[in-house]
Symmetry: C2
DNA sequence: CTGAAAGCGCTTACAG
DNA sequence: CTGAAAGCGCTTACAG
């Protein structure tokens, strides 16, 4: 299209040196004498030369890109993680490519795990097939993880986090405690549900089957869980509910309020994630905060470390935090 | 790293043909006889050959990537737009690269507008300098736009959308109508504020200076606006407020409720965007819906059209929709 | 229909 | 410290 883009040979001609020297001035100036360097730099300036990354990458047999595989790009939960990833990838000279695994086919995934496509992968979707990812470009798993795939993981302790939520409710005197789960087959759902059951058991309580409401992290599923809860007899239904995501908690509270009941008077509600908005709803939501930006940053750092040859397959577990707001209260006797 | 990745010459040797023929089988099979094609395809299969995109791109003088320049990746507003963009770019064989313009320096932006970095740009940040973007790779502006930069725009009619909001409030009998603005210097803020003033004027009402509250689209700024509103004398302050974003509306409502007042009884509130969550808060928020996924899809399509040589510098204006929920009500006399 | 050869724009041992 | 030359892995006019 543009024949005017100067290339390295144009600069070389202008400066009266070889292309090798120009290349050195660009990528390893220490190798070049001060005089030559100045001449070349002037020629670069004068010609308006800009490095062609694609050519350099081909030569280096790398792509300069890192792909983030996200289950659902439209879900705001991931935007802050991406933001964290971008904040370390950019300065390190890598492009961040994003792909939505829900809308991409299986063959697309294979393409993304191609060394010619990306130098590494940050996988945020635990439902991907391990086989498609194994033995290809370096991978880091963030938040979710792919069972059977050995790769560094950057995550929180979901069991312990769930226990934290449950203990908070139990500390407030609640004994009938319910749980709204994440989607079936999701590693996070499982971990949070077992964490819930274990924490209850540790306090002599049980997670009754009719106190477990199936959800899928979405607002709508939280609303449906509330409908189920509302349909139960008052003396049987949980007085406090731990939901595996803030979105669900938001949907739950909205539905409960729509039926004239009050949070936390009629039911205490605790969520998970600490997405920004839920601090501003009424009542502000008590929740477990996940350090999303930090997860993104660390995942990116782990991947860069791998690319630089450091081998560190250990998991990184980030701390969560109980954020107390107004949606939970002591059980009224 | 891996010496085992077969290249086109390996396949050629295996099939007993030239590399040119292999290349043709891959990218233009019609040019090759059926027999040869079968032999080559078998050799590809047997060798496990996969095309090296970087090399093809260098040869084609393209990168295969489109960069989306987002003001703030952590803001959920953009995730659905990105999702729309990704849904058309993927099938068209392009990678979606994302960059956060807030965290990237000015020189980084120049890099992104490099033909060696990306084949095109989707700009979602109207505050970027036109000079940095002009005369470089093809650009499409989405949502926001850069004044003075001539490029196709995919957006809504922000003035008309603001008028829609204001008219709804006026139809409910409100006469003192307030407005919480977006950030200073943002093209959307300006358009929505003038739309508000014009619509009021058209009905014989005015936008009083003390009924304009400065915001920046964020939750916190909505909360601050509410504090300002609460500090005004009851008989002077607006009975209805139009906020330039849902996040601000959410912050506004939360603060008003925290002070014991009720929405919409004490003040009607209408937002902008229709982000998912605000349908589930109490009261559910009346708002103006922006078709975010469609904006993303269309922006991507316009860009692909440009890349294919179609010239169409016209703007695409997408329709908005008034979504009636419970946060607005008739003025009580 | 097929092949030899040049070239996309860089980088880097290898000499000197 | 610098240059000539090969090569990263493809594609595509040009011949035949």
């Amino acid at each position: 299209m543009k024949q005017d883009r100067p290339k390295i040979s144009d600069v070389a001609r202008l400066a009266g040196v070889s292309t090798a020297t120009v290349s050195r001035v660009i990528s390893n100036p220490g190798l070049v004498s001060e005089d030559t360097r100045a001449t070349v730099q002037e020629a670069i300036r004068a010609s308006g030369y800009r490095l062609n990354q694609a050519a350099r990458n081909l030569r280096h047999r790398r792509t300069g890109g890192i792909v983030a595989l996200v289950p659902n790009l439209a879900n705001p939960f991931f935007s802050q993680i991406l933001s964290g990833i971008a904040s370390v990838l950019g300065p390190a000279g890598y492009n961040l490519l994003v792909a939505d695994t829900r809308s991409a086919g299986a063959d697309m995934l294979l393409d993304y795990a191609e060394p010619s496509r990306a130098d590494g992968l940050i996988v945020l979707d635990g439902t991907l097939p391990a086989a498609a990812l194994a033995g290809r470009v370096p991978v880091v798993l963030a938040c979710e993880w792919v069972p059977g795939l050995s790769a560094p993981r950057v995550k929180i302790d979901n069991r312990a986090a769930a226990a934290m939520a449950v203990n908070h409710l139990a500390d407030l005197g609640h004994r009938r405690i319910g749980h709204v789960t994440g989607p079936q087959g999701n590693v996070l759902s499982d971990a949070r549900q077992s964490g819930t059951a274990e924490a209850l058991a540790a306090r002599g309580l049980t997670l009754a089957p009719d106190a477990v409401y199936p959800g899928d992290f979405s607002l709508d599923s939280g609303q449906r869980a509330a409908a189920q809860w509302l349909a139960q007899p008052v003396e049987q239904r949980p007085t406090a509910v731990f939901l595996a995501s803030d979105e669900m908690a938001c949907g739950f509270i909205g539905e409960v309020q729509r039926h004239g009941l009050h949070v936390p008077q009629d039911v205490s509600v605790i969520g998970f994630d600490d997405i920004e908005l839920i601090a501003h709803i009424s009542p502000p939501l008590t929740t477990i905060r996940q350090p999303r930006a930090a997860i993104g940053r660390l995942a990116a750092e782990r991947l860069l470390a791998q690319l630089n040859g450091q081998v560190e397959p250990d998991d990184t577990i980030l701390p969560v935090e109980l954020v107390l707001r107004a949606s939970t209260a002591a059980l009224l006797l």
